[in-house]
Assembly symmetry: C2
Homo-oligomer: 198 residues x 2
DNA sequence: GGGATCATGTAACAGGTTACATGATTCA
DNA sequence: TGAATCATGTAACCTGTTACATGATCCC
């Protein structure tokens, strides 16, 4: 176990592959999985995964122990490497789906992938994810607002620099606020689906 | 000349180095430039650049011809590689500073770096950049809105998938709208600085 | 004597892009 | 005949992260 917590984006591509395998009765092969990332597919609007990286990730998942693989002869067609999700893989998938992302910038890729699979698996899981994510972003927004308030007055630091720092923070607050508003809408539409009024 | 137009993010780190060299009378060495990216510096809030990557980028800039380098003995201290921006480098910097970013996601890093240097160089350049960026994002927002309107009705495509695609587009619209609002504020504060009423 | 600073890097890894290689088969 | 599909990859490149190597000198 190399405890290399990158902490910065938790491999959304690999978890998406786990999610697909979990959904498709636990098994699948590369070419098959690649279709889910091709044009027109909902996942393709969020995450891009070329064949090269896809096969790479499958091998890495096998090394980690989240999937196992076996060769399946196809008669006339080239043989397939069929991958099967393991119990460890399913556990990891659930863990990942329950965890909100920490930064606003991870919403547009990693959170959307989580949301996609959470909805497919269990609408309550999705609702919990949305709610956790909202809490995380609320804290983030408050922290940013405090940083804004704590900016030094322009007579201590060059005025240009303070103005720039303020703009940077204001952008982050704006982006976080926009994501929060969007999450609220999401929650409402999820609730509407859940009680059948959608 | 390998015409490898990645088109996706135009090396903000290297352009930031060009910008710093341009500002500091055209020359500088690695250790010196590294200070601008260390904690507390305004650039550090936007772009992260560890020494390893910094020296790598300087060499790459030299290969491209945007800087030249010469060794400067320091007597007792270790000798410096002093880098000097070339005419081609200055031209490239101006070109880059005049160009808005194409995607909303590039606002939080690349656009902010452009803004930082545009302001240092020439406030009118900064105003033009902001205005161009606003135009670009407006078009982007309209395109996203049209895509939203063009989503297929749920009876042709699985309802879940359409709902998901709608959420994805709604997030992008929200993020783009937030960036536009922020740009408008920026423009106002830039104008206030320019006519001395700030 | 010992840590911070000056100054430049390397090594090992992780993630990602584009293009290409291989070779059979189905279908227009 | 030739393109698309099935199926799996490699090669070469780029960006980026963390950690470490080297060796002197300044300052306490």
């Amino acid at each position: 176990m190399s405890e290399r917590r990158t902490n910065q984006g938790e491999m959304p591509a690999e978890h998406a592959l786990l999610g697909l395998l979990d959904r498709e009765r636990g098994t699948g092969h590369g070419y098959d999985l690649a279709r889910s990332f091709s044009e027109g597919q909902p996942l393709a609007e969020v995450i891009r995964l070329e064949p090269g990286m896809l096969y790479h990730h499958l091998k890495k998942l096998a090394r980690t122990g989240w999937v196992t693989s076996s060769v399946e002869p196809q008669g006339t067609r080239p043989p397939r490497q069929v991958y099967q999700i393991t119990e460890a893989g399913r556990a990891e998938l659930r863990r990942w789906l329950a965890e909100p992302v920490s930064h606003t910038r991870e919403i547009r890729l990693e959170f959307l992938v989580k949301l996609y699979f959470a909805r497919h698996l269990d609408s309550r899981l999705a609702e919990r994810l949305i709610s956790e994510q909202r809490n995380t972003l609320r804290e983030r927004k408050q922290s940013l607002t405090q940083q804004l308030a704590a900016l030094p007055p322009s007579d201590q630091t060059p005025a240009d620099d303070v103005a720039f720092s303020r703009h940077v923070l204001e952008l982050r607050v704006a982006q976080t606020r926009a994501a929060l508003t969007w999450l609220n809408q999401l929650e409402q539409s999820a609730a509407a689906v859940a009680d059948g009024s959608g």
